[in-house]
Subunit: 407 residues, 2 copies
Amino acid sequence: MEILVQKYGGSSLANADRIRAVARRVAASRDSGRPIVVVVSAMGDTTDDLIELAQQLAEDPDDRELDLLLSTGEMISCTLMAMTLRHMGHEAISLTGAQAGIRTDSSHRRARIVAVDPSRVHRELAAGRIVVVAGFQGITEEFDITTLGRGGSDTTAVALAAILHARTCEIYTDVDGVYTADPRIEPRARKLDEISYEEMLELAQQGAKVMHPRAVELGSVYGVPIVVRSSFNENPGTLIHGETAMEIRNKVRGIAHDTDVAKVTVVGVPDRPGIAASLFRPLADANISVDVIVQNASIQGTTDLSFTVARSDLNRTLRLVQPLTGELQAADIVSSTDLAKVSIVGTGMQHAPGYAARMFKALADRNVNIDMITTSEIRITCLIDAQQVSDAVQALHETFQLDKADL
Amino acid sequence: MEILVQKYGGSSLANADRIRAVARRVAASRDSGRPIVVVVSAMGDTTDDLIELAQQLAEDPDDRELDLLLSTGEMISCTLMAMTLRHMGHEAISLTGAQAGIRTDSSHRRARIVAVDPSRVHRELAAGRIVVVAGFQGITEEFDITTLGRGGSDTTAVALAAILHARTCEIYTDVDGVYTADPRIEPRARKLDEISYEEMLELAQQGAKVMHPRAVELGSVYGVPIVVRSSFNENPGTLIHGETAMEIRNKVRGIAHDTDVAKVTVVGVPDRPGIAASLFRPLADANISVDVIVQNASIQGTTDLSFTVARSDLNRTLRLVQPLTGELQAADIVSSTDLAKVSIVGTGMQHAPGYAARMFKALADRNVNIDMITTSEIRITCLIDAQQVSDAVQALHETFQLDKADL
């Protein structure tokens, strides 16, 4: 029988009562007869508490040391979950990331999974046990413990689901699924029953917090059906899977927004080849993601080059870019943090014209000024004033009739 | 240059300030140029807190699960120590028990070390690093994490010192060393500069808490010189090593006492062979240590058989022994917990008569009644009333002139 992989986040495991509630849910799924692998995050604020403890002793703790420290959070929650399941009368066993065969490279704090050896998991499942795996962690060839960085536990779950050919990977969180927009901003936002990997990836990359883009991408590559649902109720959630009725569903699927945006403009650089490369190479080397990039039309041989980064990366970005002004012959470098991105996403957009025009008109009608624009095949993103995010999201939700159910 | 192994207990690592103080001490030792391996226990009450957390979720948590849970305590303290040392400008790396090559059997909660693979430790030392090892833990052939039970971190330290052919294994604790008696009971108790493995083993087994007998025994087998000293001052501590001037030092070395004693008496059993075996086999199988055993002289073909166990084992002992009364044809089983053991220990005793007589007279002079007596080659133990422990220890300390310095 096909395996079911379930992942529970830290807020679903914040205390003994919640751990018991999750264990009851796991047990109920197990009672259906299906083999189950459960991936857990660290309880509640454990990870933050451990980082605080480390910073009391070392301003800038070593990444390898921090990884071993942080990995204990998931070890604790996986043993507690296994104990609780056993106490309820179910066969269960906890496995660390290493024991579950999660092999990674040695980039501490943001390790990538290079292989999964599922032999121990298979053996324990064959013995009739519920297997509880510590998420967010793996082990290098040198037997050093690594953590996977942001979205780590989701990634562990999807990687295990892929290697185990699981029927689905269920991601349990504190919301009911993927919404057409953030319900805290747009009360008429509607939960989607299903969405394609590509759409989910764009939404996640443009600020939808429900799942990390990295785990969505892995699911897409290996064709793992992912269900995002709440651990606090029985609602069916949202299925993320391969493309379905693309040509029929000629629509915008969702609206993402992101206020964690800082904009940097390099003013008055000579318009010659190689400028962008010499600007962005050092940022890439420093692991800073550059998002929207816009180069203004050349005026008298010089141009302005603007790009956005995460707000937390702004200081590092400026430290890296400022020394280059001489080399770039730039007049000035200016930055701003009172900006936000708002995006419309939908597979249907790529072969149907007019979405951009409708988006710009909807924003203009609400007096939302557009600072920069960037597009992909299935997405249009506008950079706007941070104060106008709610207005913009609501306007777009209405214009594209996202409160109406799918066909 | 010969390696130095240092072990720091939980009270020496109870908070950030103490961790820093220990790190400074480690760094000072390192500055002498000697390669250093540091073994750490879990911080303060971490282990108790983790057990409490487990018991909120499962009345009787599984031993394998509990082992993974408890092992996180030492992982946390070893990473914090390594970070602190790095922050102070020293090269340092933390290793889990598994990474340090501590291989054990699969008896969870009380695993025995079966081998130590020191290759990673050697590699890190060769790279000039201080190696900080999580004590109390190991790994099985199946890659399951085990804990070593009582005295576990001391045992890790001595095992590493043995395999690394370390010059000494320093056990840092909250007392200055090994005393002639418990200084809280006998204010004139004197710290010993040195003591033999055999004497320390007897003292530890008879209630001296400063080191666990298991680690002393391992040190004895591999000839590891052990120094017990305080982490809170610079006093030199006590050296535990092979026998020295045995024939000259014809003396009692120390007095141990133990109030964790319960006595069980099987009354009126027929005096025939095999009685003791059928009584003690089930206790051994249940891992209950039976200490003093006394069989009274046979009166009219029946005898009383008394033995002591740790107080915490009394209920389990009675549950195992009571069903045997029929088989043993015993008249009754009675137990008592208001007892204590007091022992004199000294290698010099074994070839010099008269120690027992002096001990009994000293106790009689203070009106201390002796309930049972047991001896080894270098020890005499009396079971007495728990109320009279202080009187007994003080009387013996005076009689054997333990406040006087060694030759």
